[in-house]
Every structure is written in C-alpha cells, then in structure tokens.
Point group: C2
Chain length 318, copies 2
C-alpha cells in the first residue's frame, strides 16, 4: 500500500500519474484540510475537491481547481446582491459544497462525507482528510494581523508578506480514522509536490503524524515542489524565504529533512544534489514538471522505485 500526503493541484497531478501505474485500491491519499473554509455557510475543502475533480477527469485544466466548463450564474447573482464573490464557486462545484455541508450538519464526519463524495465521483483510491477536526492554517502578515488561508491565497492573491504560519486547532485535533494506520502500514509514504509550508506542514501538525513519519523516514519520499528556484504554482517559493528557508530544492530538503529520507528533485536542479544530501537525504533527479500524463506516470514510477527497503513489494505497471 502507498500513502501520499497531499495538498491541492500538484498532489492531484501526482496522484493522476500514480494511478496510471499502480492499482488505485492500493493508494491512500491523506489530504490537507488546513485550507478548508466556511463561506456563505458552506463547508469548503479545496484540496479534497481539487483531487476529486482531477482524478475524476472533471477538473478545469486551466485553473487546476473547479469543474471544467462550469458556469457561474449563482456567483453573478450573488455579486448583484452585493455578496462576497472573491472565492469563485461554479454552479457544479457548489453542489459538492451543498452535499458536504448538508451531511456535516446532519452529523456525518468529514471522513464519511469524503468517502461518499469519492464514491460518487468514481474514485478508486482511498481519500482521507488529515483530520475530522477543524485545523485552520492562519498566516501572520507583516502588519501583525492574521488572515485565514483562503483570505491569503485567494482574496489577497498571496501577494502580501508573511511573517509566520500557525495551524489553529491542530493541538486538539486527532488524525482522521485510517490516517495513522495507513502511514504505519504503507510500503512507501510519498510527500506529493505540494507547498511544504501550507500544504504539508498542516498534515504534519496533526498530533502523531510528524512522529510517525520521523520513525519511518527511510520509507518517506518527497517530491520537491520547487523547480529551478521557483514554485510551479502558488507561493511556496516566497513562503519558504519569508519563513527563513530557501526557495531551492535543497531548501525544500532542509524544510522536510526530519520526516523525509529521500527527495526527488527536477532535472533542472541537478546542482542541488549536494545540498539535499547534506540534509542526510538520498536525492533522486528526474523530470518532475508534470506537463503530460506520461511525465506524471514516469515521475510516479521513479518515486516508487526510490522508496527505500520495501519498494520492491509494490507491483508497478508499464
């Protein structure tokens, strides 16, 4: 079994590749919910939805989130009423949030709802939220004020200086059912090419997860989301620097060294190998920019073959 720690778009693309080369039933994705938010009374889980829409072939390929070909008549009507529309919810996307919110208000757990939605979208893998309890990524800005993740990421377009990040509620949270069990049993634990600061760290902040990964470090393979000194998408490069790290593959290695024994970096970053190895990590160099399904599948194969002692137990296609 393969466990994958996931953020949004990068993780979704990695999972697409992975599901081409292994049995989906052998994959457990543990997904960041620190980005979750409540808007207009609706419970929104952006990373879970991005993965669900991507793996079901429904995602908008241009934005990487929301439905392909969705329309926005509800948002347009809301705008005419003077409502908040900075977070664009397409009409088909809204159905997911209505479903989730209705079920949560009826007493279902986020895990249960996530499983129901995964089934409805025909996903073959196991999709787990990192926790059924609310954990919220909060960013401290240069002016000392704090904003929630979506305020930072969408409303402010991640163009403001960040001085700190915290995961509100993490200390009181429990891992969702199956999370620790999957991470303990997995032949390989992949850290998908997601933002280390605001996609992976929230998962690690859930009690028990960081320690378990640390104890299984030899089986943990990360994929650097930084290529040639920049994030392919989002503010990972900027955040790493703002929080005292470095926006390089070696910087990613240093950020994750405690929990990750191997880092896969892009072919453009071969000069970073010494820096990665200096963190006590194995370093694998391969194309990581998943521009085509073929590259994503090849990356998945490389990751699976880099996973330490138990890797040869995973049947890989192609």
């Amino acid at each position: 079994m393969i466990a994958v720690l996931c953020g949004g778009v990068g993780a979704a693309r990695f999972l697409s590749g992975l599901l081409q080369v292994v049995d989906p039933g052998d994959v457990v994705a543990v997904v960041n919910t620190g980005d979750d938010t409540e808007l207009h009374g609706l419970c929104i889980s952006p990373d879970l939805d991005t993965i669900t829409y991507t793996l079901s072939g429904r995602v908008n390929p241009v934005t990487g989130w929301g439905f392909a070909g969705d329309d926005f008549t509800t948002m347009q009507a809301l705008e005419a009423l003077g409502g908040d529309t900075w977070f664009r919810l397409g009409n088909r996307d809204l159905a997911t949030h209505l479903y989730r919110t209705g079920r949560l208000r009826a007493g279902a757990s986020l895990s249960e709802v996530t499983a129901e939605l995964a089934r409805a979208f025909g996903l073959g893998l196991v999709l787990l939220p990192m926790s059924d309890d609310p954990v919220r990524t909060v960013l401290r800005l240069a002016d000392g004020g704090e904003v929630g993740f979506q305020d930072y990421f969408v409303r402010l377009r991640h163009s403001v200086a960040v001085r700190g990040v915290r995961f509100s509620g993490a200390e009181q949270a429990s891992p969702a059912p199956g999370v620790l069990e999957s991470l303990a049993a997995a032949s390989i634990i992949v850290i998908a090419p997601s933002n280390p600061v605001v996609s992976i760290d929230p998962i690690l902040s859930v009690p028990g997860v960081r320690a378990l990964l640390g104890s299984r470090r030899a089986h943990v393979v990360g994929v650097s989301p930084i290529v040639a000194g920049a994030a392919l998408k989002g503010p990972a490069d900027r955040l790493l620097v703002e929080l005292g790290g470095e926006a390089t593959a070696a910087g990613v290695a240093r950020w994750m060294a405690e929990v990750c024994g191997t880092l896969v970096i892009d072919a453009a970053d071969s000069d970073q190998v010494p820096g990665v190895e200096a963190c006590g990590m194995r370093c694998v160099v391969t194309p990581t920019v998943m521009g085509t399904p073929g590259i994503a599948a090849a990356l998945a194969r490389t990751v699976l073959s880099s996973g330490g002692p138990d890797t040869d137990r995973i049947p890989v296609a192609g």
Copy 2:
C-alpha cells in the same frame, strides 16, 4: 401607513396589486417565517423570497416561487452526488440563500438581511420578517409523527393527513424590530389571502401580535384565501377541515374572527355573507382571484376602502 400580514404566493400577488395603488413607502409587509428552513447548511426563507422575487418582477410566473428562467445545474449536480434535491433551488435563487446565510453567520439579524435583500432587489416597501428568532411550523401527521413545514409542503406535497399544527420556538420569540410598532401605527392592517393555518397563524403566534391585532380588530381587513370552497393554491382548504374548521369563506371568518373585523370574500361566495357576519365581522364581496394586475389593483382598492375608521386617510391612486 398600511401593514400587511403575509404568507407567500397569495400575499405576493396582493402586494403587487397594493403597490399599484399606494406609495410603496407607505407599506410594511410583516412576513411569515414559520416556513423557513435550513437545507444543505443554507438558511432559506421561502415566503420572504417569494414576495421579493414577485415584487421585483423576477418571480417564475408558473410556479409562483423561484426566479423566472432560472436554471438548475447545481441541483442536477447535487442529484448526481446522491444529495437531497426535493427542494429545488435554482442557480439564481441559490445566490439569495448564500447571501442570507453568509450574513446571518456573520452575526446579522434576519431583519437586517431582509432589508439588505429588499434594497438589492429594488423594493420600495418595508419588508419585515415576523421575528428574528427561529419559529418553525411543525405539523403532526395522522401517524403521530411530526414533520417540518417544507417536509410537509414540498417533500410530501401536502398530500398527507394533518392532525395538528404547532409553532416551535414561538413562545420564546420576539417580534422583529418594527413589527409591533407598525401594527400599532397602521391606518389599516391587511391579512393577505394566505393560508390562515400555516401562513397567518405563525405570525399571530409571535408574542404580542395576536393581542395587538385583537385590540385593533376594527382596523383589520382579511382577504379570504378560500374561493368557492377551495384554496387557489396549497392546502388551506384541506388543513382547515383537518383541524376542525370549514373550507369556506365563512370557515375562514370563524378561524380569524378574534383578530379581524372585516373579511373580503370572492364574488363566487356571496352565499357566505351571512356566515361571515355571524362571526361579528363585516363582509365585503368582490373579485379576489388575482388573474391580472388590474384585478389585483382593484382588490387592493376595495380592501383599502373597507378598512374601518381610518381608511379615508390613505391616499389611493386610480
């Protein structure tokens, strides 16, 4: 000033007529919120919305609720997910619920949100919910079980036998700001042609309203929603009988005699005059089936001229 106690479709049509003949700024509509419900986490106020959509010219003329020409892609997507879709929420209609829910969750009162929506839809009258506190119409069925109003009205299509009605939360509720003041100050209080059992009685159940109307009974004019022994829309006829009344104009008179000094009944019901007068009410006979704007305006004029001692102080056009 003219105060109107309102349910949904019948009240909306009556208000349309009224606003043709008086200054909208002189009209205060006090609207039933016993039908309000929460679905998918969204706060839905069907009677307020039906009035808002009707008076802004946006209502679906076929159903009497929702937007004309709305589309239902969100509902279709929700159906595909296995969600509850018996309460059909069109895409544009959804925007109203998102706005309301977002504002309520942010701490606004239903009165405040209602005023904001009325302004956004360009309404000239004052629209007041009967209460900012939750009051919920609950129906006891023949099998002893209870259902909420929308379950009864929409999901079960009001085709089940009802043994009792109660207004959950009414005893603890306060009238919304302006309700008692408007009813006390109005030259005439109109009870719109709405279901007496589940549209008007919830308003009367809010502490202070029934007593105030009783004390101003000479100024209260009702319009019978029962014409020729049947409700034009909805289950008023059936409910009156099931709850021990009679589905006739005289039955409506008996139901409302305590709070209403005059009843306007349809021309088809002239044989009901003695029965109405037997309740100690004045009876006015006129066409009440508002098939055209002209009939609605004429009905409004007749109602205004039937309103007892202060009626001559209301300027009426046409």
